[in-house]
């Protein structure tokens, strides 16, 4: 292998030997220690390979043996370079691109995290940025031990951190200790009332702490105090001896009425894609943008679908080039009218969505008398939804 490589670098030629004293020629070559190989007898001629630098040495032997040679083929790097001697810029470009790739491989162009559950990638990225590690940093400048230590010191629930550099990608492996993860949720000693969050009629009230100000059947409005965050110590003479502030707590269930009303035109506009589309590419190289499309798009009405992709060589060699692909899809607007069935279907979907939203916060829907009316031009949805709901929420604190 090495021998073949050396032969390629030095260059070698295939030579045709014509003459009678072939044996003498071979013996003389041998005597002069000139290396030739692959000697093939071909009729009256012999072909063989010889290193190009040795061809000149054959001159004397040829004269002695009265034979002639003809160079048939040339192989190797010197001949390749000679053939492409006018393509200097090509080789220069090749060299420059190699240098650029090498320089870029010295930097980190992508940071990813593995094993984080409670801490988001953004949060950790910001932390790393503050610690001086961001995309575009020299690999040698990354003090992995320091960052691992800082990560563990900053986040107590991170029990193990390891930084790995794969190509131009920085992978941060984290192990979080979820069992010991306890939020520092020592309840602050706050005092306050339970206030009403919606206009409602109270159906039941359970007070755990505080003084209830309302009872079942009472009509309350948004903002009213339902359970006061104080309790009074009353003496034998019914006078208030002491008033202690507490954090009011309790469940106040009330009937809440939701008015549902919305309209929709039967005529609607519909996007009809014409099938024509054009794509433009924008390359973001280290913050500078280059577009491949000089004329913009030629459509009047269009949707844009944008996707981003960071360029990389292989799996881990990320480059500082982000390709933004924009696909312009042309459409035309056509006006259409819903049939009665279609209109009902659309309205029903909207209504179900609203009911779902109401249901999320309620205990039970007691009544639902929302009706859908489909007119010739307009459709209407109207009615009331009555729901049982916890209307009390902790609001306000006492000083």
């Amino acid at each position: 292998m090495i021998e073949r490589f050396i032969k390629y670098v030095n260059g070698y030629v295939k030579i045709l030997l014509v003459g009678d004293s072939k044996e003498r020629f071979l013996n003389l070559i041998n005597a002069r220690n000139i290396k030739i190989w692959d000697i093939v007898f071909n009729g009256e001629q012999i072909t063989f390979y010889i290193e190009s630098k040795n061809v000149k040495k054959l001159k004397i032997i040829l004269r002695k043996t009265k034979t002639k040679i003809k160079v048939m083929e040339r192989y190797g790097l010197p001949f390749f370079l000679f053939a492409y001697r006018k393509r200097k810029m090509f080789f220069l470009g090749l060299f420059v691109s190699w240098v650029i790739v090498y320089i870029m491989s010295l930097y980190v162009w992508n940071i990813s995290f593995e094993g984080n559950f409670t801490h988001t990638d953004d949060e950790l990225t910001k932390f790393l940025e503050d610690a001086g590690v961001k995309e575009g940093i020299l690999k040698d400048d990354i003090d992995t031990t320091r960052i691992e230590k800082e990560l563990r010191n900053e986040y107590f629930d991170i029990t193990w951190a390891s930084i790995e550099i794969k190509g131009t990608k920085l992978v941060i492996h984290i192990r979080e200790n979820s069992s010991q993860y306890t939020e520092n949720n020592e309840e602050e000693q706050v005092h306050g009332d339970i206030v009403c969050s919606k206009n409602a009629v109270i159906t039941s009230i359970i007070t755990r702490q505080g003084t209830p100000l309302v009872g079942p059947g009472d009509e309350v409005n948004n903002g009213d105090v339902l359970i006061q965050g104080k309790y009074q110590i009353i003496g034998d003479d019914l006078s208030v001896l002491e008033e202690r502030p507490v954090k009011a707590s309790g469940d106040v269930i009330g009937k809440v009425i939701y008015n549902v009303e919305f309209t929709m035109d039967r005529e609607y506009t519909k996007k009809v894609y014409t099938g024509k589309e054009s794509t433009s590419y924008i390359y973001d190289i280290n913050g500078k943008q280059f577009t491949s499309c000089l004329y913009g798009n030629k459509y009047k009405k269009y949707d844009i679908i944008t996707s981003y992709e960071q360029m990389k060589i292989g799996e881990n060699f990320y480059l500082p080039v982000i390709m933004e692909r924009k696909i312009y899809k042309e459409y035309e607007i056509s006006k259409e009218i819903y049939t009665e069935e279609q209109a009902r279907e659309v309205l029903d979907k909207k209504l179900q969505y609203i009911l779902k939203k109401i249901e999320e916060n309620t205990i039970q829907i007691l009544e639902n008398n929302v009706k859908i009316e489909v007119g010739n031009e307009e459709c209407k949805v109207s009615g009331q939804v009555i729901a049982l709901e916890n209307i009390g929420s902790f609001g306000g604190t006492y000083e």
């Binding site: 044996e23 071979l26 013996n27 041998n30 190989w37 692959d38 000697i39 007898f41 012999i46």
Partner: protein
Amino acid sequence: METFFEALNLPKEICPGALNVKLCGQYEAYIENYRSIIEYDASVIKLQGKGCRVKISGQNLKIICFSKDDMRIKGLIFEVKFY
């Protein structure tokens, strides 16, 4: 010299000047300690050794490489003859 090597019970391969011919099946031959090429064409290669000559006959005989002392031949070998 040969008797000397025989007396010492040494392999005769290392006897200086002895023409060694090694065959690797029918397709390759390796010759050591030859002095010169007497004749070469596609069907016969005659080599001069120190005290003898060797004739290798065959078909499509090709010298893969050769130096002052050794030579490697490829091709379909029919016969190796010392004379």
